[in-house]
């Protein structure tokens, strides 16, 4: 059993050594729109556009993740994570997002970095 031996929760895998981990890149972006938008809508739109453009196999190669607690609803700024080889692919496909429901949006890339700490300098 997966949780055998754990104290209460699921047993977690040991973290991979840094040399075997995927190299990550964080992309900070600003969503420009007339009306404020919900992060869940943005996530759904990104996923749909990426799946349309790259297909399921291509999408899996991006290792795209949304950093949930990074969304600033006031400034409409959020952070995406992908692997270091697919930064250009992610940026290119972000250009194909035109609208969230009825709201037309525009995406401005604030910066790309290898760590979340360094991303703070992009405002």
């Amino acid at each position: 059993m997966d949780n055998a031996g754990s104290k209460g929760g699921l047993m977690r895998l040991k973290i991979l050594p840094s040399s075997l981990r995927e190299r990550r890149r964080y992309i900070k972006l600003k969503i420009i729109s007339d009306e404020p938008i919900a992060f869940s809508d943005f996530k759904a739109a990104v996923t749909n556009v990426f799946l349309d453009f790259y297909g399921e196999l291509g999408f899996s190669e991006l290792s795209l993740t949304f950093i949930n607690n990074s969304f600033d609803p006031k400034r409409q700024v959020c952070i995406l994570r992908c692997n270091h080889k697919s930064v250009q692919k992610v940026l290119a496909a972000l250009g194909f997002i035109q609208r969230l429901g009825d709201v037309r949006i525009l995406i401005k890339i604030l910066g790309v970095s290898g760590t979340l700490k360094k991303l703070k300098k992009f405002k």
Binding site: Q88, K89, L91, A92, G95, F96, R104, L106, I107, K108
Partner: protein, 238 residues
């Protein structure tokens, strides 16, 4: 690095947004300059547009240029004669006749979307050699991809990839523009550069398509408009 978008339509031609909206969005996205590509109607309209552009350029704080997009061979001839009156001359690609005429005309700066509404790429090795000789930049139009989907998008991307390969091989300049008709269709220069990397360019070459190539077009245009200029390579020295 300075980025330029030399193909944007405003409400003066087929666009939906005003000059101000587009200029403000361009500044917000990080462009140093934009060029409004309008359709030619009369010489009086050029003066009107110039005044409007100058006012907005000062108001928003961004370089704004005026360009005209020729829609057929006749219009191209007419605009080539009036070449000193405006900054950028674009030729609306798509028909083989106009694609060829544009590549053969040294006054033309940009051949826009040569693969528009076509099954083939509208551009071959002969046109690539001519474009190199006459210094006509081949445009990669982002809006064309943005507005298409599924099969047509994949066909456009395939044709664009071929055009990029030919332009690279024969040394024809390549330029990437948003081709936006609304301020919400403009794209961040980083997004446009990344898009070009999907078409077979490396990141350095992609950035050059958005900065170095438009800069050289604008520099040449400025030289061409000076009184000392006679023809490419010939100017009054004293």
């Amino acid at each position: 690095m300075k980025f330029y978008d030399l193909h944007v339509h405003s409400a003066f031609s087929e666009g939906k947004s005003s000059l101000e909206e587009i200029a403000k969005t361009a500044k917000l996205l990080g462009f140093s300059g934009i060029c409004f590509a309008e359709y030619f109607e009369s010489e009086e309209k050029i003066e009107e547009l110039k005044r409007e552009i100058e006012r907005i350029s000062k108001e928003v704080g961004i370089e704004i240029y005026l360009g005209f997009e020729a829609r057929n061979a006749k219009e191209l001839k007419l605009l080539a004669k009036l070449r000193r009156e405006f900054d950028v001359l674009l030729a609306r690609g798509g028909s083989l006749k106009l694609n060829r005429a544009a590549c053969e005309t040294p006054e033309v700066d940009i051949l826009t979307h040569p693969e528009l509404d076509r099954k083939d790429s509208g551009f071959n090795h002969v046109l690539a050699k001519l474009a190199h000789k006459n210094n006509v930049a081949i445009e990669i139009n982002f809006r064309e991809v943005l507005m298409s989907s599924k099969e047509s998008r994949s066909r456009i991307l395939k044709n664009m990839r071929l055009n990029v390969r030919l332009a690279k091989k024969y040394g024809a300049p390549l330029i990437c523009c948003s081709g936006a008709i609304s301020h919400l269709e403009m794209r961040d220069p980083k997004i446009l550069a990344s898009f070009l990397t999907l078409l077979g360019l490396d990141l350095k070459e992609a950035k050059e398509c958005l900065s170095k190539v438009p800069e050289s077009i604008l520099r040449l245009s400025k030289e061409r408009r000076s009184e000392k200029w006679i023809m490419p390579g010939v100017r009054v020295v004293s």
